[in-house]
Subunit: 407 residues, 2 copies
């Protein structure tokens, strides 16, 4: 792949559009070892943009799996806190953060669910200080994707390995808008569209949203003083960044106690190595009171049992069904892509910056309904049959989407 000009454009887009990396800034990158060719090109573009140092932490699925195969019972509550604390220290020192994702969505499917859950919990807890700096956009950050053999096989099980990897790369390049000569200009135009959508939603100041579709009748109350975000936005260090490449969503913070009704996922959720299918959930007063899935129900229940906030919403996002990702018709089994093909909600931690005042203190965020949790898990609820209304504080109803398209 190293000679494909799209790979180099993806690397350049990651640095220039995704991060907006500033001269003199350090970069901390994580990547699956199979994504090394992309990581190398990103490293090259980072130094060309003036990076003071690029450090790449490569992960390896085989080594990760060895823990569940051979590790002892008492070992599953351990996490590499020293490494996560180190990353947090780098971010406090204004390092930018880039993640390349390309995980095998079914890596841990066959492993002991309790072990996986305990290890994830320990990891989430250790990672929290670093994650808070990312999710509060203290620094510029971005996520891009690389096609890897295991991920490609899960997405295209009927293709030969090399063909599957190539097909997934094609889809990534298209979704990431680098299949043209000037991706930086393409992203500027796309950001303009997303910003206009945010302006529209912010102008209305809705109190809640009402989703209807097959298996879904859900009212999502929005946080007091919430603001819609989407596309490029400034991190607190002043640098404009696109935190997801690709991105198609506009999103905001729901009120953690004001979601009512039932909702059916419109796509399977690949969660930490397990595929959860046909999620159906019912909310009362913002809390999940019933949760079902046709496969992976135990993983789902452990996930929402992580802490009090794991049963509540931390994000709601609007995505028209017709967009470059949805149009591929591919089920990517990866949140970065699938969440940008459909309207979605996330359980867990809210984004503190989705408020008219993006610098609210913790207690004020809670008062306005922003959720807190160790987790932040997006899952897809929109499809070509989704109808969406906005409801104003006075009860007035504004049709927003019909059959998955903006009205």
């Amino acid at each position: 792949m190293s000679t494909d000009p799209r790979l180099d454009r993806l690397a350049e887009t990651a640095i220039r559009v995704g991060l907006g990396l500033a001269p003199g800034q350090e970069l901390v990158m994580t990547a699956p070892v199979e994504a090394l060719p992309l990581a190398r090109l990103i490293t090259e573009h980072a130094y060309k943009a003036g990076a003071s140092l690029v450090t790449t932490l490569l992960s390896d699925d085989v080594s990760a799996l060895a823990r569940y195969k051979y590790g002892r019972e008492e070992s599953f509550d351990t996490a590499s806190g020293w490494l996560f604390e180190g990353m947090a220290a780098a971010f406090r020192n204004n390092a930018a953060r880039l993640a390349i994702v390309g995980d095998d969505p079914t890596l841990l499917s066959g492993q002991n669910v309790e072990h996986v859950s305990r290890a994830n919990r320990a990891r989430s807890k250790a990672y929290r200080p670093a994650l808070e700096l990312i999710s509060s956009s203290a620094i510029n950050w971005t996520i891009v994707a690389a096609s890897t053999p295991a991920w490609a096989k899960a997405v295209f099980p009927d293709d030969a390995p090399d063909a599957a990897v190539a097909k997934l790369w094609d889809a990534i390049f298209k979704a990431s808008r680098v299949d043209n000569d000037d991706p930086v200009a393409a992203w500027a135009a796309h950001n303009k569209t997303l910003h206009a959508r945010c302006d529209f939603m912010n102008g209305h100041r809705f109190a809640s949203l009402h989703f209807r579709g097959p298996g879904t009748d859900l009212k999502v109350g929005l946080a007091d003083g919430h603001a819609w975000m989407g596309g490029a936005s400034p991190a607190k260090n002043g640098i404009m960044c696109n935190a997801n490449i690709p991105t198609e969503e506009v999103f905001t913070t729901p009120h953690m106690l004001r979601t009512e009704g039932y909702v059916a996922a419109s796509k399977p959720l690949a969660h930490q190595g397990t595929l959860i299918r046909d999620i159906r959930v019912r909310f009362e007063n913002g809390n999940i009171v019933e949760a079902h899935a046709s496969t992976g129900e135990e993983v789902l229940n452990r996930m929402i049992g992580t802490d009090e906030g794991a049963r509540r919403l931390g994000e709601v996002a609007l995505v028209p069904h017709a967009n470059p990702i949805g149009q591929t018709g591919i089920l990517f089994l990866n949140t970065l892509f699938d969440e940008n093909a459909a309207c979605h909600i996330a359980l867990g931690q809210a984004y503190a910056q989705c408020f008219e005042n993006p610098n609210l203190p913790e207690d004020e965020l809670t008062r306005r309904g922003a959720n807190r949790s160790l987790i932040h898990v997006d899952w897809m609820i929109g499809n070509a049959e989704t109808d969406l209304d906005g409801i104003k504080p006075d009860g007035a109803v504004v049709p927003l989407m019909r059959q998955g398209a903006w009205v």
Copy 2:
């Protein structure tokens, strides 16, 4: 290579002999990305031995090189202090340390010497807190080697790439004593031999050593109350470990002010990506006062200019010329191997535990002659013509080696 039983034995030897990894202990491993097959097997053996967590930091030469190709002038004084501080925190929390080496010995040969020197200096400074915990054996640690294409090509430039990699693996397996059915027993016997040599040297309580050979007439005064070490030794956390696999040396701490005379290196020194050939050095009162090399002299001079202690000895080590490594006749261009083929000295930081009392405070170490420096660089001075005498405090001379062999 993953089906070669010697690779699995090397992994098992690294965990059981090298580290003596304790159940419940965390492991921090570093490895070149090309050594991933060995790193995976080591991870497997670590979990089988009861590791609580294995974290592997993979390094990539292409990414490392990108910094020198594309980095800006002001960037070369930066180091990933957050990562090194994280490693130090892991060691303070009793994590074990394993390094797989397999570096390209000529990676940085063509790069700007001043940039390389500044980057190394920044790295050494940032790494110091972690390195001190290793070099003082606060925790159990070990180094093993993996054959990589770039290293193998430097060692066997006339062979085809695959043949070179296979030949280097053969040499590594032989030197690491895993080319037999029971490497753990082979290492027990070898440790016994090395311990007997230490006992012999410690029994004599020499004041100094006198090396003679082609281009060499060097008197190395030993630190007051020094002790000889070699083979397995207990770390301060109580765990017996073999810090180098392979190892053939017995070594101690010289007095930093008591080395006199001249010495010629018997092999080229591969130092941080540059090959330094034909080192010739003269000492007065422990300090280098003249330094020459036929290639890499600028790198040599920058190295000894790192700090005051970089011009002084921190280690002297005795290795008979006839041993499994020397017998291969291979110039490995890697200190782990070449230093174990020949008597050697090291410039820079001394080992605090090479004393009869291995827990001396810093000021007492200095009083006894232990050197301090950001660097610790071993280079080879012994060969088949080396004669070595031990000199007692009363001036009595004891012949120790003749023509590279123990008397």
